[in-house]
Symmetry: C2
Subunit: 430 residues, 2 copies
């Protein structure tokens, strides 16, 4: 035994860095070696933080006090009001919790809650490693391409009935608009899921961090149909362009106060409270107003046009893909090319991912990082590799009754457009 | 079973809020009820964030990118250079990790490391609940008033020999200048502790968050004597007045790379990275320079004068207390008054704390919150309840060769002085 001898928690040992973060470093290496890269890896908003929010941070730069663990009261009120206004869900400020990113809050939730975790796959990369670190049991619920990868209410109920203990405490993590597939359940399906959840007393963590990026501005929270059992997760990272600021929010129903209280206790022994200047600045973001609305309008318009164009190109190339409704992700499936890919020795999503990067410079992530079988041939691609600030300015110059056409996209989202074209050319030569 | 049924991790259930944070809320209640309170509870620096650091935050308010999990490279370099400059320890930037407060980093360390945790008591309030949440075994090592509450190297060795397995992986958490007692081991003792640690391959987490608040500016890191096994913990919260900003640092030796790597993995699945604008601003703080040096000089001068005055008053009143060397805490012990206190039915530090608050308005924390037996009669008091900004300005007007006398303290630290006087008056009437 020496100081070099590794003595690590087995739940932590062998875990890699989060896949979406690791890709960023890999791409940087290739670029350093002079390779032209079309990055579809890291899911960061391409847009800047709205100027009014940046101004608010400057104004509050001197704030130095430790804020309450649960969060700055006026920020909690702004978040509650945001959900009442945008989601028509009756959230109260005393049931809102602020964290250094919603990822951290999800970790605390998995740590504090004692029960099974249900996750429909494909899903975001961090839910499963979080459960592993804590040593919690995760049950993956299968979805299918034909169901637009969304959770079916029937599959959820079947999962509850499969075990002898229907009363077992369970936490379902829903995420929509989805990372990795940019889509979500229909309203009717959400209502059915709510019904199943109510029947089996399932707590739903509804990860709606992309809610405001719904391309039509028509996000519907499942909390409308299951208010007593839904925790809504949101934050500044996606719709407000402030991923690097690290501010996430959980909004609880009063009936889950016991769970909120436990999270606050764990927070008080871990991160203490979220950075004070960041919290003061975030009040402006959640309060909204004309500047934020215009920012959202044009962000959505650009993402909508680009998403539609990409889906069309890929469908034309016989890639299996559904229309996207929000966020900035696609989850194309190359099942149609299975035989051709097999002939060049590609049998898994990881091999597919590596070969595409090598041959075309297009950097995506394998579907296996999102909870799908490695034998499936799907990828997650984030279409955010463009200058969002310039694109917003350009969009403001195009009258709102005109679409942002292929010419606009070629000019303002050039690397995304070229990357998609290179991918399609690669498929054609298989 | 319904959604209201509590289903919590037993490691979390029943834990209260961190004691230092809870006192703040309690004091607020009393003040609301019109009571005059002399707050010695929350250990927050009384001084503002230096203006050059605030300016840097304003300048970087627009930074929106997710930074590397381990931290912004130029900040890691500034932190490494800080430890080389201030502590004469050869830290490299690739071995520095940035977190949202050092408390969070300590939690991740306890989570990732697999071994026993050794903690000398009295100790900071959060080490033990962190271990409880994770389900890790904690061994408290006794200290005594006569040893200035510091860890004795002999007690550390005795603990290692007490168990049959001397090779067991162990993590010792040292903290000095100490919260709760404002003192630390002598250099000779640090060298002996280092020797014991080397003999038994103990990893030391040296929590030196108060290092720069050493009243003489003469902090000595134990890493100088045990570089290969020491992790130095620091951050902006105490010497830079920015507790509410939430930025902490861990600096590892190259030999503990395996542990750093594991922390980075867990960080990538929890907080992701520390707020970008905060990290950019912190570079200025760790780089130091004339403005920071002057700020530190006057901060230390004020804390030194106030600490010395308080210790003198309490010693004169037969309270057991040692001189303080850094930070802004005292840990007075009222053993001399045991009989008198017993006569008014005070038998524990909690009862002592509550009665003093009730009778005098002086808000302190019980020694039992810091790992001491509840039957001991000690309190932790933070002497920070004054306007640090005004005090700094006033100190700059007093020539450096003149001491800051009782008149200065009465004028600029009025609530602290009055609170101590009220406490002493209370003791006299017992």
């Amino acid at each position: 035994m020496s100081i070099q001898n590794v003595s690590l928690n087995l739940n932590v040992r062998g875990l890699g860095k989060s896949a979406t973060l690791a890709i960023n470093e890999r791409v940087a290496e290739l670029q350093k070696a002079g390779r032209e890269i079309y990055s579809f890896g890291l899911g960061q908003s391409p847009f800047p933080v709205p100027q009014c929010v940046v101004n608010a941070l400057q104004k509050h730069a001197h704030e130095k006090d430790y804020l309450p663990v649960q969060g700055l009261p006026q920020l909690r009120e702004a978040v509650a009001e945001f959900h009442r206004r945008e989601d028509h869900v009756n959230i109260q400020q005393e049931n809102v919790m602020i964290g250094p990113g919603s990822k951290e809050l999800m970790f605390l939730l998995q740590l504090a809650f004692y029960g099974d975790i249900l996750i429909p796959a494909p899903c975001w990369v961090s839910y499963i490693p979080q459960a592993k670190i804590i040593g919690r049991k995760v049950t993956m619920i299968e979805t299918a391409y034909k169901n637009r990868w969304t959770l079916s209410p029937q599959a959820l109920e079947a999962q509850c009935l499969e075990e002898n203990d229907v009363d077992k405490p369970r936490l379902l993590i829903l995420n929509y608009p989805s990372n990795p597939y940019g889509d979500g359940n229909t309203v009717e399906e959400l209502m059915q899921i709510a019904e199943v959840a109510r029947k089996y007393n399932i707590i739903i963590l509804s990860d709606e961090i992309y809610g405001q990026t719904n391309h039509q501005g028509k996000h519907i929270s499942i909390a409308r149909y299951y208010p007593e059992g839904t925790i809504i997760s949101s934050g500044l990272s996606k719709w407000c362009g402030a991923g690097g600021w690290r501010l996430g929010t959980f909004s609880f129903p009063a009936s889950l106060r016991w769970l909120l209280d436990a999270l606050v206790v764990v927070a008080s022994e871990t991160y203490t409270s979220v950075s004070a200047p960041i919290q003061y600045a975030s009040v402006v973001a959640f309060r909204g107003g004309d500047e934020i609305n215009e920012y959202l309008l044009h962000s959505r318009r650009i993402l909508n046009a680009l998403g539609k164009w990409i889906v069309q190109q890929l469908q034309d190339a016989k890639v299996r893909i559904h229309p996207v409704e929000g966020a900035f992700y696609i989850f194309p499936d190359f099942e149609h090319y299975r035989q051709a890919l097999l002939e060049v020795n590609i049998k898994s999503s990881t091999e597919l991912c590596e070969r595409i990067l090598e041959d075309t410079g297009v950097a995506a992530l394998p579907g296996s990082s999102f909870g799908r079988s490695k034998h499936e041939l799907n990828l997650r691609m984030a279409y955010v590799n463009f200058d969002g600030e310039k694109a917003l300015l350009a969009s403001k110059k195009v009258p709102l009754d005109q679409p942002l056409d292929a010419e606009f996209l070629t000019q303002h989202c050039a690397l995304v457009v070229t990357g998609i074209n290179r991918l399609i050319d690669w498929l054609k030569q298989l």
